[in-house]
């Protein structure tokens, strides 16, 4: 089966006063139709920049410096702005982290949710608002007919995120990119939104890229996962494999740093030592080496490639050499 989206060696650079940041560094990733793929990593690991590169919505200082973003046979990186506008909101929709600020405060919610239909399907205002009412019902916003006439400030955070999702789904896109869709919400609301995304993925077959720093979300939602660190994918594989036997010390450390219900009582959490690297001055060799409990001499000299290790891909000299991360401390 052909991939729906295929990132090949994508590089995104951001020009700052003090130098150029390689925010997305040779990232390759595929998403198949109907699949849910997670991208995990700390703040600044390049996961959002990867998503914004796909959408070609990078900040002013950012640009795609290399690689290809193949979507349904076309390279999005090569499209003109006009062509890209006909992809955004129709073929690929995106929802953002903070529903409080992601909706325009001066327009009615129904107007905003129906807008992609007016832009791309040339629907008139009345029809688009009728469609918005149906979409509101689909995403579980009660009293839809009244809700479409309200402004975002009259919605709760969870309702706004539902409205955002309704907006994303309005044109029936084949790919939905959700950038930290639940981070700004209460825990109970988070579960509802994730449930909604899961149902929509199941009912409409919309492939989903789920960007999150929350491993629990990935475990519950994603078929496959890519772990990012300092702009690079350091590990990639099926969610089961990666969680069962991580093959990169960063993933291994991440999994040990979160509380688990099935853990032995009184087992202490183990935070990852050190802090994320300065993107302007990355360390020699492997970017994770300064924080890595497994580092060997080679790690400080030469940067590893993303290579198959057991059933997944890992960017690590240690596991590529056949050593196991189990039992180490």
């Amino acid at each position: 089966m052909a991939h729906l989206l295929e990132l090949e060696d994508v590089q995104t650079h951001i020009a700052l006063k003090d130098g150029v940041i390689r925010a997305v560094d040779h990232v390759s990733l595929t998403i198949d139709p109907g699949e849910t793929v997670g991208i995990v990593g700390e703040s600044g690991s390049g996961k959002s920049m990867t998503a914004l590169s796909i959408m070609r919505l990078l900040p002013r200082a950012g640009r795609i410096a290399g690689g290809a973003i193949k979507f349904k046979g076309r390279d999005l990186a090569e499209l003109s702005e006009d062509e890209m506008e006909s992809v955004r909101g129709t073929e690929i929709a995106m929802i953002f982290q903070d529903p409080m600020t992601s909706l325009n405060p001066v327009y009615r919610s129904g107007w905003q949710v129906g807008e992609p239909l007016r832009i791309h399907r040339h629907m008139d205002r009345g029809a688009s608002i009728e469609a918005a009412i149906d979409l509101f019902k689909k995403v579980g916003i009660p009293d839809a007919r009244r809700r479409v006439t309200q402004f975002p400030h009259q919605f709760s955070g969870g309702m706004r995120q539902r409205a955002m999702i309704a907006m994303g789904l309005s044109t029936g896109p084949s790919l939905l990119i959700a950038d930290e869709p639940t981070t700004a919400l209460d825990v109970t609301i988070q579960a509802q939104i994730l449930e909604l995304l899961r149902n929509l993925n199941r009912d409409y077959g919309t492939a989903t890229i789920l960007i999150t720093h929350n491993l629990g979300v990935v475990a519950g939602m994603c078929d496959r996962v890519a772990v990012m660190y300092a702009g690079r994918v350091v590990e990639q594989g099926t969610t089961d494999d990666v969680f069962e036997h991580p093959e990169h010390p960063y993933t291994w450390s991440l999994l040990r740093s979160i509380p688990r219900l099935d853990a032995e009582a009184h087992e202490p959490l183990k935070p990852i030592a050190g802090s994320p690297p300065d993107m302007l001055h990355l360390p020699e060799g492997c970017t994770f080496r300064p924080r890595c409990p497994f580092a060997i001499d080679r790690c400080g000299v030469e940067e590893p490639e993303l290579e198959p290790v057991r059933s997944q891909l890992s960017r690590c000299w240690v596991t590529q050499a056949g050593r196991s991360l189990d039992g180490a401390s």
Partner: protein, 314 residues
């Protein structure tokens, strides 16, 4: 909405009271006793007392105020000391000219400021932006009477594109009226245009960096649609606030501009009355100016509420 307007009107009552008290006191600031001026040489104590009685000046101050207020409310604003023309009539005759000048000046300032500010924001750092900024600095720093004189010299005297001076009522000949109002309105509105342009620019830059703009882009909205539909309405909210404050400046500026352009409006009437120490007319003009300012700010608040639905009318 209706309730909101009614409430706003009600809130204007105390302000209106203070304004009328202030204006009433104005006449008492004028030096001398009117009876002495009226009597000239024949100032016997009896004659003075009679005149005081005739004019109601023997009454306590608050009674005088109430009588005066009653007259004002009934449209009797007294007579000009110099021309003996009723004040209300003198002002209403001149008011359309000033209203036309002020509105055209305001419209001009917004027509320049909003598109220019938007373009400067969208292309910030570009040559267009720098030129717009240069014009702005010039527009704010050059006093409007000087702009007026330059405009008269270049566009009217030298190029003969616009007539110099003279007022044609809008109702008589709209086109000719606009031709006559153009230069004074440009002179009066330019400083405001410059300030509004700066505000539009900075507000637009701020709005364009907000999350919902990215959402609009993610929907596939064109850049033009994003700027003019999604950003502009938000960006105009602070601009409207500034425009509200400028209305006072326009009333003030009209005094100078009308003098430079011999524009037969209330501003020039004010200047003439001040020179003639025509206190009754000055009183009337101050009253009209204060009320115009209050009404204009009510209108601004309504526009504000229309732009920003988060402002509740209830």
């Amino acid at each position: 909405m209706t309730a909101y307007i009614l409430r706003r009107l009600l809130l204007m009552v105390p302000v209106a009271f203070l304004v009328t008290v202030g204006v009433f006191m104005l006449i008492h600031l004028s030096p001398g006793d009117p009876a002495l001026i009226m009597l000239g040489e024949d100032r016997t104590p009896d004659a003075i007392a009679t005149i005081h009685k005739q004019l109601g000046l023997d009454q306590p101050l608050y009674v005088q105020y109430l009588i005066w207020l009653g007259h004002i409310v009934h449209g009797d604003w007294g007579r000009s000391i110099t021309t003996h023309e009723p004040v209300a009539q003198a002002i209403t005759e001149r008011l359309p000219a000033t209203l036309e000048l002020g509105s055209v000046a305001l419209i001009w300032s917004l027509l320049v400021a909003i598109p220019l500010g938007t373009i400067a924001a969208v292309r910030r750092g570009s040559l267009t932006d720098q030129i717009a900024t240069g014009i702005t600095v010039a527009g704010v720093s050059i006093p409007n009477f000087f702009i007026g004189i330059v405009l008269i010299f270049v566009l009217s005297v030298t190029l003969r594109l616009f007539p110099f001076g003279g007022y044609v009522p809008l109702t008589t000949d709209p086109l000719e009226s606009l031709r006559h109002v153009a230069l004074p309105a440009i002179a009066l509105g330019t400083a405001g245009a410059a300030i509004n342009m700066r505000f539009t620019r900075s507000s637009m830059i701020e709005v364009l960096n907000l999350d919902y703009i990215r959402t609009a882009r993610a929907k596939g909205a064109s850049w033009r649609r994003v700027v003019f539909v999604h950003a502009l309405k938000n960006a105009l909210i602070p601009v409207v606030t500034i425009v509200g404050l400028q209305i006072g400046g326009i009333i003030e500026g009209a005094v100078v501009t009308e003098t430079v352009f011999t524009w037969p409006g209330v501003g020039r009437l004010a200047v003439e009355s001040i020179f003639n120490r025509d206190y009754t007319v000055i009183q009337g003009i101050v009253l009209i100016a204060a009320f115009s300012y209050m009404v204009a700010n009510l209108l601004v608040d309504l526009v504000y509420g229309w732009l920003d639905p988060r402002i509740s009318y209830s």
